[in-house]
């Protein structure tokens, strides 16, 4: 059954493969147990992961025991991996999940002896047992030796996070592909080329014959990742290690790469070790899950056990802290307090105890917790389950609805006077605003930003990129308008034009002042503009580059007050101190420099700087995308609270649909510089009116293994068209599953009202019934 999907290609590959040993238990999505969850339209069903237990008695393909990989640096030994046990079974997918710095990538690299100096495997064993042969201990082999090189690429393939940078820019992809083939298979150059074409076709690259001769930098990131997968699969490995393979990609591309990996696994029966920080991706692809924290395993179990019955407090907290696209009401997220400590200052005992709400003094800070086993393959390392007298915590009964201000997690939320009422208030406000729009705070009309490409002496002008093209937006006071789209859709440019950090090519930015008068910010310059700089503020994406490392906190946060003459001397100092404590930083930190702070703290500084002038409009440009899951929840909660407290209006720019859903009252979707759709959040997520919105929504993996996406019919390309040479007619028609052949390629659709105060730029918005993600259960 695993071969019928592979008939179009790869006969050469499946021939001679010995890895399909475990095919009897191979995946079975087709006959899956579909849970009809309301979505009955095309390809929207969610599929449960099929029950495919592995043979318990069987030795795993890969078994890591007590792995320690340390880096000796001048500042001391960094124990990146400090006692990890895990195993991968033939034909199955193990997801290793954890926040940045937890050692998951180092673990993966240790398997292939790819840890660079000063890193070294100091202890532990990595038993590799393909085809039931005698195991080889990969931790003990020579890192440059013959044996490990035979295994690298030959028996274990690997795919990396940055697809573009993982291919050499100096050689064509064909050259790199056939090199990999010929390294492990004694074939001629011509044969290798044929195999290469087959492989490229199998990984979904159109016109593989022509693509062999292009260079990596001529392809998109998604295409490069397909090439990397083709290279990794070129020798029919028994195990594929994928290290954050979709993190650098857009959500639609990610969805297609995940599909591809699942298909290929089904075809070849290989095992996968998939490393990610994204719980949505885990739920989407995993059979088993290992949760890592600070170089150690926190919990291991099947994907269902992890998501429905998490045992370790860290796993529970992680699951609670992700915004899900399931509830219409906005509630504070349950954040994990603090941040992941540096591996060099790993707390003694249980590494998570400093952030754990259930830590037991005298127990957790003394010994490292032993493994507690619940079922054969569900185990956790936590004293709550092993220490006599400890009260095991109940698994989160309903993780969706117990978020936030639950008394069991008092520290999860910044306590504010309004805290108790916050959730209901927020909900009420949302509804009120949606029904009776007040006079808008900001009206953007026909805003356009064009960039000219090329030019210069003796150079041809290469054309114009319409980064933002004739965009209309309205933002009402007190609301949060979410702006989503894939990278390169112009959302950041639009935000920066509104903040007047970029000069728009044309159009109006009408801002309504407190006294009701309207000014066109696009026309202002110099002093006249300066006045609005303290009313319209920006929160930047990158918490590192957005703070001047050479200025102290006081100088950074006080700068807008100082330059606008709003405060000086001790008054300024007081205001900075108050603002800092308001965003959760100690006022004593004022004389410190940004380098003393972590990413999450820096983002708090960023927020303090934006809000200290008491602005009316805040443009938040991907404020949480650089942050880890647990810290992200803290910042999102903070933003929500501050909005309540100061009556702020947000333009919230993000590529992350679940975050946008969590914070926004209304959402605008952009595609290639134009607005595709605008609607209230709940409406948009429940039933989009534009096929692009639907594509985006379906691409987002949900952190729920019972709601896996099924394969959808999608366009043949996951590439965004060249912005300098956009398609004619509807910009989306090249990727649209619903596109007609006459109207869409020729006529540009207007952004027009489609009922309920919504607008969409699709010719067929009224006819199509599209499906979203939010359900009314």
């Amino acid at each position: 059954m695993d071969t019928d999907t592979g008939t179009t290609a790869g006969t050469d590959l499946s021939a001679g493969t010995t890895t399909a040993k475990d095919t009897g238990t191979a995946k079975d999505t087709g006959g899956g147990t579909t849970t009809g969850n309301g979505g009955t339209t095309t390809g929207t069903e969610r599929v449960r992961p099929s029950a495919r237990p592995h043979n318990q008695g069987e030795e795993p393909l890969l078994r890591i025991e007590g792995l320690h990989t340390h880096f000796s640096t001048p500042d001391g030994v960094v124990k990146s991996v400090d006692g990890v046990d895990l195993s991968v079974h033939a034909g199955r997918t193990l997801c290793v999940v954890g926040e940045s710095g937890c050692g998951k990538s180092v673990t993966a690299r240790s398997i292939l002896q790819l840890v660079d100096a000063p890193g070294r495997i100091v202890d532990g064993s990595i038993l590799w047992r393909p085809n039931g042969h005698d195991p080889i201990d990969l931790a003990a082999v020579d890192p440059d030796g013959e044996e490990i090189r035979r295994i690298r690429g030959g028996e274990i393939g690997m795919v990396f996070q940055e697809p573009m940078a993982s291919l050499s820019p100096m050689y064509t992809i064909g050259a790199q592909l056939s090199e990999a083939i010929r390294l492990h298979r004694g074939v001629s150059k011509e044969e290798a080329r044929e195999i290469g074409i087959d492989l490229l076709r199998r990984v979904g690259i159109p016109q593989p014959e022509n693509r062999l001769d292009v260079y990596p930098f001529q392809l998109s990131g998604g295409m490069c990742q397909r090439v990397m997968i083709a290279i990794a699969l070129s020798c029919n490995p028994a195990l594929l290690i994928a290290d954050e393979p979709t993190t650098a990609l857009d959500v639609t591309t990610q969805a297609r790469i995940l599909d591809l990996l699942k298909d290929l696994q089904q075809e070849t029966g290989m095992a996968m070790m998939f490393i990610t920080h994204d719980l949505g991706v885990v739920a989407e692809i995993a059979d088993e899950v290992t949760v890592m924290y600070l170089g150690r395993v926190a919990e291991h179990g099947s994907v269902e056990q992890i998501f429905t019955d998490p045992k370790h407090p860290y796993t529970q907290a992680l699951l609670r802290s992700i915004p899900t696209m399931r509830h219409g009401r906005r509630e504070p997220l349950a954040a994990i307090r603090g941040m992941v400590p540096h591996p060099q200052r790993r707390p003694a005992g249980c590494p998570f105890r400093t952030r754990c709400d259930h830590a037991m003094p005298g127990v957790c800070d003394v010994d490292a917790p032993p493994a507690s086993r619940f079922t054969a393959d569900h185990l956790t390392y936590c004293h709550l389950y092993s220490h006599p007298g400890a009260l095991p915590i109940s698994p989160v009964p309903d993780r969706v609805d117990t978020a936030g201000g639950e008394p069991a997690h008092p520290r999860a939320v910044v306590s504010t006077p309004t805290d108790a009422d916050a959730p209901t208030d927020a909900g009420a406000h949302t509804d009120a605003r949606a029904q009776a729009p007040a006079t808008p705070l900001l009206e953007v009309r026909n805003l356009t930003k064009h960039y000219t490409l090329g030019g210069g002496m003796f150079r041809r002008q290469k054309g114009v990129v319409r980064a933002v093209d004739d965009v209309d937006l309205t933002i009402h006071p007190g609301e949060t308008l979410g702006l989503v789209g894939e990278s390169g859709c112009g959302k950041t440019t639009l935000g920066r034009c509104i903040a007047r950090l970029l000069d728009a090519s044309s159009g109006e930015i009408r801002y309504r002042e407190a006294d009701g008068t309207q000014v066109d910010l696009a026309q202002l310059h110099g002093r006249a503009l300066q006045k609005y700089r303290s009313q319209v503020r920006v929160i930047f994406q990158d918490p590192f580059s957005s703070l001047n490392p050479r200025m102290t906190l006081e100088q950074i946060v006080g700068e807008p007050l100082r330059v606008n003459g709003l405060a000086s001397g001790s008054a300024l100092k007081d205001r900075v101190a108050r603002m800092l404590s308001r965003v959760g930083l100690r006022p004593e930190y004022m004389p410190r420099y940004p380098h003393a702070f972590s990413g999450g703290e820096r983002q708090r500084i960023n927020i303090a700087r934006a809000l200290i002038t008491e602005p009316r409009l805040v443009i938040a440009d991907e404020p949480v995308s650089a942050l880890d899951v647990s810290v992200r929840a803290q910042i999102l909660n903070l933003l929500t609270e501050l909005q309540e407290e100061f009556g702020l209006t947000y333009l919230f720019i993000s590529h992350d649909l679940s975050v946008v859903e969590h914070v926004s009252d209304r959402v605008t979707v952009m595609y290639l510089g134009k607005i595709a759709e605008q609607a209230n959040t709940a409406d948009l997520y429940r039933r989009p009116h534009h096929p692009y919105t639907e594509t985006l929504l379906h691409a987002v993996p949900l952190p729920d293994p019972n709601r896996r996406r099924t394969r959808q019919e999608r366009a043949t390309t996951d590439d965004l068209p060249d912005p300098a040479n956009p398609p004619s007619g509807c910009l989306f028609h090249t990727r649209c599953p619903h596109a007609s052949t006459q109207l869409c390629p020729t006529q540009v659709p207007e952004l027009r009202p489609t009922g309920d105060g919504r607008r969409a730029a699709c010719h067929y918005a009224d006819e199509l019934t599209l499906s979203g993600v939010a359900t009314d259960d």
Partner: protein
Amino acid sequence: MLRYIGRRLLILIPTLWAISVVTFIIIQLPPGDYLTTVRARLSAQGDGSLGAQELARLTERYGLDEPVLVQYWKWFSNIIFHGDFGDSFDFGRPVSALLAERLPLTITLSVLTLLFIWAVSFPIGVYSAMRQYSVGDYSFTFLGYLGLAVPNFLIALVLMWISLRYFGMSVGGLFSPEYRDAPWSLAKFGDMLAHLWIPVVIWGTAGTAANIRVLRANLLDELRKPYVVAARARGMKKNWMTIKYPVRVAMNPFFSTIGWILPGLIAADAITSQVLNLNTTGPLLLRSLLAQDMYLAGSILLISAVLVVIGTLISDLALAWLDPRVRLRY
């Protein structure tokens, strides 16, 4: 690629023109004009009547009684259309003839030096980067610093002193005294080779040191790139992978050496050539500058500047041929 070459060639024209202007300004720089100098020289020879005739010819030839722009045009057009660079009053001969005597040797030495630099700096640079912080790396790095810190002429002096003192032989010039005027023979050729390596090594030191540093730094950067790990994860042999992937990218500085080594030797190492008593254009430039023989000096400057431009062009084209990112951007 063709468009890239075309664009590079087009940029050449204004650059070359600007070089000619600067050269002309330099020719005009010394106080007192050309005629005065010639007149002084002629009267020193005590040949008054012939002098007047000669002066009139020169005035006509260089347009000396006409505006500066006309003078420039006369000088420039003679070079472009007739290959006539003017006369050297110091030698009393056409500049072009003087250059024709010395350019071949100069260019030969330049090419040899270039090859020397490549041959030495490539293996050392790769070794240093791959064995970073090893004893060998430290030694080569220190030698590199030393190579940059010692002036070339000082190395020449020390070498000459050592060979004179301990071997009793003169290493100056290209030939031993017994072969200097002898007809070409195998023995003379061998003698030339025995002398040739000294200027090549001396000129090569600074270039080699610089090249090693750049290659090492570039290679260290490249070795940290993800594609290196990716290539190893495919099962490639470490050394072969290093040569095939990162070294090829890090090689780029090798081609930019073409840009400066060719013209550099024509004029820049005038001082070393002088010390070593070589018949290259360098000492000629020096002598002409000291004697304020400006048409000769200007011409040498012009030629070396033009060679820089051509050298840069060659290295850019070589880079484009080597690196698809450069090639395909245009």
